[in-house]
Structures are given as C-alpha cells and as structure tokens.
C-alpha cells in the first residue's frame, strides 16, 4: 500500500483552476486514533456479525493497518 498514491490532475475548465484528487493509501496518521477516540467502534450486541465479532471489530479498528502504513513524512 505504501506506493498506492494516485494523483488525478484535472482543471476547473473555464477558470484556470487546477483540481487534484489526492488518493492516498495506508499512511500512519492520527486518523485511526481519532476514530477510536471519537466514534463507536465496536459492534452492537445484536449485530448480524456477532458470530465473528473479534475478526470484524479488529477490521473496524484497522488493527492490521494501524502500524503498517508508511510514515506521513514520506
């Protein structure tokens, strides 16, 4: 994922403004930590996914991505 960074260069056609869609991949940032702090990140008790709770909650928490992203300053 480290090199999965795509820039789409476009132009706000008649007005000379360039529009860039910066699609970044796995980067170690505050995103995951902020999400844990600010949003509900566990399944409700009656979830359809209760049977796979640990696996799904681990994916929701991005456990496998959290420490494997490229550093932001690269």
């Amino acid at each position: 994922m480290a090199d999965s960074l795509i820039c789409d260069y476009c132009r706000l056609a008649p007005f000379g403004i360039t529009v860039i869609d910066l699609k970044t991949g796995a980067v170690s940032t505050n995103l995951v930590a902020n999400q844990k702090a600010n949003t509900m990140i566990s399944l409700p008790k009656d979830s359809l996914y209760g049977i796979a709770r640990e696996a799904v909650e681990s994916a929701m928490r991005n456990d496998k991505l959290a420490n494997s992203g490229m550093p932001a300053d690269q």
Binding site: M1, C10, T18, G25, L31, L48, A59, A72
Partner: protein, 165 residues
C-alpha cells in the same frame, strides 16, 4: 504583489497527520505555508519551524470566514488549497447509525465544499490549485467502513465534476 512566493493553505494540520507532513514538505520546497487546524496548540511544532498557523474549523462557516479575514488582513492570497481535514468511521452497514454517518459526510464532504467555495474568489484570482485529499477507498471498497469509503468516493466525484465546471 510583493510576494512572488506561492502560498498554500492546508486544512487539518494537527501534528502526526498528513496535513502537518504536507505543511513541512511545502515549507521545505520554499512555498509559503498556512497550516490550519481547529486548535493552534496542535501545530506548535509547525510554528517552531517557521510555518504560519491559523485556527480553522472547517465545519464552522464563522471560522472559515474568520480565517479568510485574517488572510485578507495580511494581504495574503492563496494559490493552493489543500482540503485535508477529515475523519473516519467503521461499522457494518446493517449496524450503521445514520446520524453518525451523516455527521461524517458533513465533515468529509459538505465542509470540504464549504471551504472550497469560500476560497474560490482567491483561487480564481490566482488561477490556483484545489487539492482534495481523498483515499484509495474512494475507488476500492474496504468492508465495515462504508461511510468513510462513500464520503471519499463522493469527494472524488465532486473533484471530477469540479474540473469540468
């Protein structure tokens, strides 16, 4: 104009994130950087590097207006706007709280457009650049985080549409 230097304004520059990393990279490239975040205290390391910091809460129209007023007072026009501030959320769609999902869209989509519209007069003047920070998940679905994926896909499409308008 006195300054021949290009000027970039970046949202969401709390340290540890890509906004702050971009601020440092632009600064090193010799571009004048205005790093913004909700709280100035989250950017003390950037100020220490000589990067200008301003308070900006992209969800608050009053804060956006105040930020533009501060720039105008300094006779600063922005050449590059980097819409970087954002957040994530995870939940299976079957368990999704729609109010929470809408809040994420308010931040990741509608606030981004609100900032872009506010800066448009400056960007028209400078024939500038709008950078919308989306994600690979705007084109590739990752399960259990659909509100985030969809908000990034929405911004990707807004970016595409913007370029044609």
């Amino acid at each position: 104009m006195a300054n021949s230097k290009r000027t970039v304004l970046i949202t969401g520059c709390s340290e540890g994130g890509m906004g702050a990393a971009l601020a440092v990279a632009f600064h090193k490239a010799g571009i004048r950087v205005y790093a913004t975040a909700r709280g100035l205290f989250k950017m003390t390391g950037l100020s220490a590097l000589g990067i200008e910091t301003l308070s900006l809460d992209i969800e608050s129209p009053a804060s956006i207006a105040a930020c533009i007023d501060q720039l105008s007072a300094r006779k600063v026009t922005v050449d590059i706007l980097v819409n970087n501030a954002g957040a994530s959320a995870s939940m299976p769609i079957s368990d999704l709280n729609l109010d929470e999902a809408k809040k994420l869209f308010d931040l990741n989509v509608w606030s981004q457009l609100s900032v872009t519209k506010a800066f448009l007069p400056m960007l028209l003047q400078t024939k500038g650049v709008i950078v919308n920070h989306t994600s690979v998940v705007s084109t590739m679905a990752v399960p259990f985080q659909s509100p985030y994926n969809a908000s990034k896909a929405a911004m990707a499409m807004f970016s595409e549409s913007m370029r044609l308008e």
